[in-house]
Amino acid sequence: MFTSPEKNMLVGAFVTAGVDAGFEAYFEYMRGIGTPMPPQFPYGSIHDALPPYDDLIANAGIPLLLYLLGKGLKKPRLVEMAKGGAIYGVSELLGETMERVAVIATPASTARYVMRS
């Protein structure tokens, strides 16, 4: 179904999602235990409408790191992985931002939950 470069891209998307999952899973585990993480780095955000730092690190930082490594080490495979990670990361960051903006724009009377960072 996938060609070789597409398989590398899929691996890159999984790597990015894995780092994202690591940050989110730790946050949720601590919340489950009953000691939620304070809204500071890496779980804070510059603005309520923007994704928190952990999302930025995972979804933008990891593809960038893969890209720089690929270019630096002259490994086209890593560059392809960076591309896949970027497709996952850009989509996730844009979707998250749109959702946050929509929640902020929604009148409080209709909102059932407050957006957490």
Partner: protein, 145 residues
């Protein structure tokens, strides 16, 4: 005027469109579930505590499945289908991991227990009777398990 400021080739552009379609579908569902009081309860429920909500499962699986069917009919949509896979499948696994972590956290939450008394009371006859421990609150004694 060329608006392609990122200089994306048509393949990458198609993949990005597919990824964005998956992401917008997922986040639109989550927005609706968080803000609409009349949102269907079935979509807010979970099949199992370690899994995401039913609505999240549906919106993670539906876009790549729909694109897979459409791409079989029209090969032009192959790149969009691939982009949809690159976003939705890793994201679904991410959501399962996050929900599983929360469920494990809840399971590992320490139960609210009263510390056993440091010294045994002379009034304790055996383990089946309630034990007492001194406290500094309003009550002088607290029942322990």
């Amino acid at each position: 005027m060329n608006l392609n400021i990122l200089k994306l080739d048509p393949t990458t552009k198609g993949m990005l469109i597919g990824g964005l379609a998956g992401s917008i579908t997922f986040h639109a569902e989550r927005y609706l579930s968080r803000t609409q009081p009349a949102y269907p309860a079935e979509l807010n429920q979970k099949l199992e505590p370690h899994l995401p909500r039913n609505g999240e499962l549906v919106t993670s699986v539906a876009p790549p499945a729909a694109m897979w069917v459409l791409a079989r009919r029209s090969p032009k949509l192959t790149n969009i289908r691939n982009g949809s896979f690159f976003y939705s499948i890793p994201h679904l696994i991410q959501r399962v991991a996050v929900n599983a972590a929360y469920a494990e956290g809840v399971a590992a939450r320490p139960a609210a227990r009263i510390v056993a008394p440091a010294t045994m009371s002379k009034y304790i006859s055996n383990n089946s009777t309630p034990r007492v421990a001194a406290t500094s609150g309003l009550s002088k004694y607290v029942l322990t398990a």
